[in-house]
């Protein structure tokens, strides 16, 4: 058993470092940027100024449609449409790019609601206090509201990230040789499905445990000011 593990491990860890982790990290960063933008568009009330109001409401409509679309369809189907479907209308994407687009858009849709709820959970009192001191909306967001919202959003965002690491296994279905795909290929040669898939599971678990630890660390860092936290 050990020699099977030792011979297949380098290949699997290699696939993890080459595809699984880059896919997850790049998609999460892009997804998070998209999520913050989407959440802010849905969160900030449109200005009374008509020149800005209508373009803004259109943007909000697009944001709502985007979140609805990606939460209402399965991730696997989204990946299939992007990679196998789009070429029919002349959009041919490399598999890795297609996967990053699919994962980012999917993560962004879910995470935007997490961030929006975190923004909503900062009390109106905080906005009032900032406005009375003449902070602009942007200054209030950057200095007062977002720092408080980050702390609230951290645990659910960590969930999203951990979920994304595991979801990268779906990239195998659009021809990417990520870790799970490699474990399937090795299984085809050595007929050890239990061992190989358990090994794959263990590798995912190691990465996700590291992320849980990172979450714990960041929670501690961002909770310095909360009563009862040991800062």
């Amino acid at each position: 058993m050990w020699d099977i593990i030792i011979t297949s491990l380098p290949e699997m860890v290699g696939a993890m470092l080459q595809f699984t982790i880059p896919l997850a990290v790049i998609s999460f960063i892009l997804g998070l940027i998209l999520a913050v933008l989407t959440a802010l568009i849905k969160f900030i009330e449109p200005s009374e100024n008509k020149a800005i109001r209508y373009p803004y409401l259109l943007l909000r409509g697009i944001a709502n449609f985007y979140v609805w679309l990606f939460r209402s369809t399965p991730l696997l189907v989204q990946l299939f449409i992007i990679f196998f479907g789009l070429p029919s209308i002349g959009v041919q994407l490399p598999a890795f790019t297609a996967a990053v687009i699919g994962f980012s858009l999917n993560t962004g849709a879910y995470a935007s609601e997490t961030i929006r709820s975190a923004l909503l959970s900062v009390p109106q009192d905080q906005w009032d206090a900032a406005y009375t001191l003449n902070f602009s909306t942007r200054q209030t967001l950057m200095k007062i509201v977002l720092p408080q919202a980050v702390r609230i959003a951290l645990p659910p965002l960590s969930n999203s990230f951990i979920g994304l690491v595991k979801d990268t296994s779906l990239a195998s279905s659009i021809t990417i040789l990520e870790m799970f795909q490699v474990s399937q290929q090795i299984t085809a040669k050595n007929y050890q499905p239990l061992l190989m898939y358990t090994l794959a599971a263990a590798l995912y678990a190691i990465v996700c445990s590291l992320l849980s630890w990172l979450q714990h660390y960041l929670e501690h860092r961002t909770s310095k000011y909360v009563k009862g936290s040991e800062a």
């Binding site: 009192d125 406005y131 009375t132 001191l133 003449n134 007062i144 720092p147 000011y225 009563k227």
Partner: protein, 248 residues
């Protein structure tokens, strides 16, 4: 002087402020009294645009804002620049230290240098007897300490008027006294203040004028002495209703 004219505010069709006109003199302490839900906080918050009345106007010698018309960013900034609010639940920024709570607006909004802002903040903390707490977070302090810090935060932007919305209603009597002493000191120094309060003893002590509001209407507007010594029947009811002393 602040002059508010014909202020009307409705929430969902219900009139909260019914055509109120009132002046708040400069360098004096004005106290707004009235039963809960009478509209007194709404009136105070209108001054800082935390509430936007449907109509009416507010004017200073050098600034006038009509609530019924669109308010430019410049006017909104000027209006808020003249006043600063102290809240019932102090509303300190929990993610900032005591020092950063006080210096945030001077640095961010007024572009004061960090060194100057901190020097001013330390001097304000000394005045309210809280030097040494600069690096603490609000959650590590008592309510009375937090409210005193929020008064420092309001003073740090040098507003013409400090607006106080039931500043001691959430404090126990001992902590309330700490805060009231500071307000009394500010009043004696000639700081312009408008205070919404339920503390009659305090109102009687510091108020230069009293405005009594009930159901969105101004019922009394005059000198403190008249309010307490020659009350109308309704004000007499109000005063005896909140006192434990036997009637008659």
């Amino acid at each position: 002087m602040i002059s508010m004219k014909n202020i009307i505010k409705k929430y969902d069709g219900k009139t909260v402020l019914n055509d109120i006109s009132v002046d708040f003199p400069s360098g004096k302490t004005s106290v707004i009294l009235g039963p809960s839900g009478s509209g007194k906080s709404t009136l105070l918050r209108s001054l800082d645009l935390l509430v936007r009345p449907e109509s009416g106007s507010v004017s200073f010698p050098d600034l006038s804002v009509n609530y019924a018309e669109p308010i430019s960013k410049k006017d909104s900034f000027s209006l808020r620049r003249k006043t600063s609010m102290v809240f019932q639940n102090w509303n300190l920024f929990p993610n900032l230290t005591v020092l950063d709570n006080i210096t945030a607006a001077p640095i961010t909004v007024l572009k004061t240098s960090k060194a100057d802002a901190e020097k001013e903040a330390r001097s304000l903390l000394r005045q309210v007897g809280l030097e040494g707490l600069e690096k603490r977070y609000p959650s590590q302090l008592s309510g009375g300490q937090q409210q005193r810090i929020s008064i420092c935060r309001a003073l740090a932007i040098n507003p013409e008027y400090i607006l106080l919305d039931e500043p001691t209603s959430a404090l126990d009597p001992e902590l309330e006294t700490q805060v009231l002493k500071i307000l009394e000191k500010l009043a004696n120094e000639g700081q312009s203040m408008i205070i919404v309060t339920h503390n009659m003893e305090f109102a009687r002590l510091v108020a230069d004028k009293i405005v009594f509001i009930e159901d969105g209407n101004k019922v009394f507007d005059g000198e403190t002495k008249d309010f307490f010594e020659n009350p109308t029947p309704r004000i007499k009811d109000f005063l005896s209703g909140i006192s434990l002393e036997a009637e008659n």
